[in-house]
Symmetry: D3
Subunit: 239 residues, 6 copies
Amino acid sequence: MRPSGRALDQMRPVSLEIGFAKHAEGSCLIKFGDTHVLCAATLEERVPPWIRGQGKGWVTAEYGMLPRATNTRMQREAARGKQSGRTQEIQRLIGRSLRAVTDLEAMGEMQITVDCDVIQADGGTRTASITGAYVALHLALRSAVERGLLPSVPLIDQVAAVSCGLYKQNAVLDLDYLEDSSAEADTNFVLTGAKGIVEIQGTAEDSPFSEDQFMELMDLAKKGVAELVELQRQILELE
Amino acid sequence: MRPSGRALDQMRPVSLEIGFAKHAEGSCLIKFGDTHVLCAATLEERVPPWIRGQGKGWVTAEYGMLPRATNTRMQREAARGKQSGRTQEIQRLIGRSLRAVTDLEAMGEMQITVDCDVIQADGGTRTASITGAYVALHLALRSAVERGLLPSVPLIDQVAAVSCGLYKQNAVLDLDYLEDSSAEADTNFVLTGAKGIVEIQGTAEDSPFSEDQFMELMDLAKKGVAELVELQRQILELE
Amino acid sequence: MRPSGRALDQMRPVSLEIGFAKHAEGSCLIKFGDTHVLCAATLEERVPPWIRGQGKGWVTAEYGMLPRATNTRMQREAARGKQSGRTQEIQRLIGRSLRAVTDLEAMGEMQITVDCDVIQADGGTRTASITGAYVALHLALRSAVERGLLPSVPLIDQVAAVSCGLYKQNAVLDLDYLEDSSAEADTNFVLTGAKGIVEIQGTAEDSPFSEDQFMELMDLAKKGVAELVELQRQILELE
Amino acid sequence: MRPSGRALDQMRPVSLEIGFAKHAEGSCLIKFGDTHVLCAATLEERVPPWIRGQGKGWVTAEYGMLPRATNTRMQREAARGKQSGRTQEIQRLIGRSLRAVTDLEAMGEMQITVDCDVIQADGGTRTASITGAYVALHLALRSAVERGLLPSVPLIDQVAAVSCGLYKQNAVLDLDYLEDSSAEADTNFVLTGAKGIVEIQGTAEDSPFSEDQFMELMDLAKKGVAELVELQRQILELE
Amino acid sequence: MRPSGRALDQMRPVSLEIGFAKHAEGSCLIKFGDTHVLCAATLEERVPPWIRGQGKGWVTAEYGMLPRATNTRMQREAARGKQSGRTQEIQRLIGRSLRAVTDLEAMGEMQITVDCDVIQADGGTRTASITGAYVALHLALRSAVERGLLPSVPLIDQVAAVSCGLYKQNAVLDLDYLEDSSAEADTNFVLTGAKGIVEIQGTAEDSPFSEDQFMELMDLAKKGVAELVELQRQILELE
Amino acid sequence: MRPSGRALDQMRPVSLEIGFAKHAEGSCLIKFGDTHVLCAATLEERVPPWIRGQGKGWVTAEYGMLPRATNTRMQREAARGKQSGRTQEIQRLIGRSLRAVTDLEAMGEMQITVDCDVIQADGGTRTASITGAYVALHLALRSAVERGLLPSVPLIDQVAAVSCGLYKQNAVLDLDYLEDSSAEADTNFVLTGAKGIVEIQGTAEDSPFSEDQFMELMDLAKKGVAELVELQRQILELE
């Protein structure tokens, strides 16, 4: 039924490759099928002005897409002179998701910025970004521990994200671009390793959907995030 | 328990005043307690370039806040030279919510832009905006019917929105600013008259929340939206 | 002779309502007929960098219009990414007018910003803004006195403004939009309670006008401003 | 009494040099003492979109200052990314002044843009710009006549401008920078050859001024503009 | 003598990988040691307005760097709202270099845009970009031939680029970042397969250099470009 | 053979006039035939933040063109809201050229900004700018010596620039606009008084050129710069 031939509850092949960006304190190239995102975390020993002097840290994210990551070339945002509303929405979402599992007090006055740059897009760039950004963040914090800046990695839990949607009235997991562009509903779930809810974004594309349908989507999301969390554990060699 | 003394499932006093903006094709001043939003709908007999020639219409929204709508003066976005990410996120949400209940095909090549300008803010500006924008949109479409541009109002259902949150670990309806700024979770529900889901946005502010808590919030939202939908019916004199 | 049926030297009904903006230190909703402007004054205990350390204060103003304040919707300046030349011209005028009656030395290092936002426009938005902004400024300074920040209100005089014009070769007072758009000359007078001149702006729209005509316009302005100053005295309960 | 030793009603030495800009259809380097402005008129056989198809023409102006035209270097507006409110105010004033003496209907669908660039500034740059821009405009229209595009020069009258002010409580003509920066009042008068009023801008710098003082300033302005109009006639060899 | 231990006339290991960007008509990931640039060519069957109707094509380029491509994170140009002078200089150079070997007349009304995005930077990003962009351009034109849009690939020659510099007074080939940041002179040579000169950019960093030194650098460049041109031939399987 | 009738190795008449800008610490109006550039140097006793505290100075340049300096009016960069890539490229080049002959250490914490504004353009504006900017810089530094801020002028050598090109396959010196727009190659040489190379920029406009042709161009450049350096010596009265 799905264009890719996947089962309704089947994710695309997911891979995580760490250390891709030589200069970054932590980095991860994440692939959800043909969606490829390079996540690079930068650690700085200073915080934004509005948080200064409180003894706590900050985690933020920026998001971008190479102009030809997509099927049709998009105008370069730097040339256009501003980031689109969509870009800003996504980078705010990534930042909030990461902060939800970080103990900012335990970080001290340190800031980590995770750049998520989409090298190739095939749907689900924001969920892949969150999932990969967590790995880059973890590695950057680990490097801070190694350099003696922190006693331990100040992360409370893992965080990962997946999209689910109604496609031809079926609840399906991890929409690719073909599915996404004709889905009746599109939802993104950001969940922790302990299955806590960090963010839910659900949108009816055409006509409203029901509470029952929503619960089906949430069940799929829990399955998908569990798989992603396990992959994060393996690559990060968490016990 | 709530700073305002409201019951957990009690909305603030809501009022709707139509015809507030003399020039607009439809307008509504909506108040959720001390949150006041002026919604003004503009009807134009042309559509954006990317939809032209398809015989269908478009509904969009813009959002703004007067600089001193808030407790501390915010920089004027026009002076700053750009709209914030938050502003863009909200106006995209309002537009999607309105389109979800509009039969764009039945509109013909006509565009309606609803301006939602916050005159005074005390939390819940986006949900008040959606609820009031629906009324302004309805009135503008009704004026198109009166002018013979349309045979009937091309709206499939009503749409309204409310925020719910976890405040001191209680699920509460319609957060005001005091509650919002210290809530553990903040969710916005955009629902139709028939209780279909149009948009769900849920954010854990501090630590993740559980699926059970989320279901409690959704129940409150259904109650709140039902009240709003009834107020819309009264002011619009729908049967 | 006038579209509104007013006498040549008759102003539109003017009303002033104070305390409209809950959060502002001083606020005033002023109406010149169908022109409605919300003036909100913000008091901050710091001054711009270029005046710092001189022990004196600063008063400034910003001006905006809701997109559908006018008959045809105007593009939102925040979306367009810049303030028009007209907007900047008007807000500079409001600021200069307010400073002309303020004893900046007596203010100490304190800044007041008055936001003038046009909710509905029917000609004369700049003159209504100045007249209302004075009231908001006065109230904000009075609140500073009440909070013990100042020994007394550091205002030397009142200030108010009115437009006059040549309409069908007659000198008329307080142009509304219909008159303004076909006037032969358009002038704005900013005068003090003591009838001192603060600002004069006169523009021939089509063909030049004579000195005699200009003197007629100035006489009308003095009459109009006297009425406005009296209304300010009443609402502010000045002896 | 004046720093320059001039009589109260004495202008600075004024010179006009035409043909300064090789490429422009009309050009004039105007000097009011140490204030030097290069005015260059460009003629194009097309009009802005909003006037197209009406068979009439348009005259507009742009204004700029070289960064080191002034005593202290100002930031380059092109580098800063926007024109200041002052710049926009002045270029709008120049454009209106020129249009007031132009028969736009008689121009046909043709646009003239006059660039006024201040090479050196010593007060009065806007009045020198208007006076010189008229000459450049006249020459550009004359070249259109020579090329057979127009039967005759579509100008109704001449236009020139001068500033007057209250300096140490004396009314003085043509303020230079030293006087301008400590004047009690600063006014600009744009008048025609026939002494009609095109624009009046008067500003009290510190405390309001009286109607009598204003009339004194207007008398000085009439004297000054008469001299400028005569110099324009000579350089343009008008009979 | 060189920090990397390379011989004076030795390039870093160079690799070219084609087909890296799934959606692009032609793509190449080029590596000059630790400098990695993704070049993606987009083919569109329309040309910019200023060239339209002349029956000829256009080739252009855009350049960007991921924020953490460098040792210290750079601000994202899209967030900053404009491209730096350096970015614009480089993308103009890449475009000119490609056009110098393209027969624009033979292309017909078709445009190719090559995006060069630096994934990781270690000096020489502009020369790697030009060398890789040629490959992407060639592939995109080849795909146009395959789709029947062109009879043959309209390229006159190959083009490649390399930097040379004076490092500790020695002429060295292909500067890496360490060398570049302390070089006495930095030159970039863009040469064709036939050793024709397309672009030369030479800059003395500290003190001027001599004509003899310049000739030494040009000799190194010819050697380096010859190697790059050979690698291009291999990957493109040119005879 | 040349449109102007000049010999292949003949420059246009060059003139230098100093003291043109009354307010600037050093200024020079330079003419290369019909190309006229006003160079004005501003001395400030502070340096940019990134160099502060190192005890050394900075020299930088900005470049602009009056809108009607050219045959067809160009849009004003201040109105357009940004400087073009070409403008930024040129001003960076001027700054680098001046710094190459300045002993920044000997300057102390002082900055000189040279504004190069093209009053009229006929090709070669960047080379005229560099040549004139050197004179303005020299004068500004001399004024610093006169004011006791520096013991001597911290310039190591003179610097001047000239363009050479291939025009109808002949190497010609100092291209004017007519030649420049149809040249096969265009090169700019920035050389010192001692004939050291500061910058070389060479571009093939159409088809690549050979090393021999490049050497011919460099020989012409050395001749041209020698003449310019001599003119600089005369105007600056260097022994």
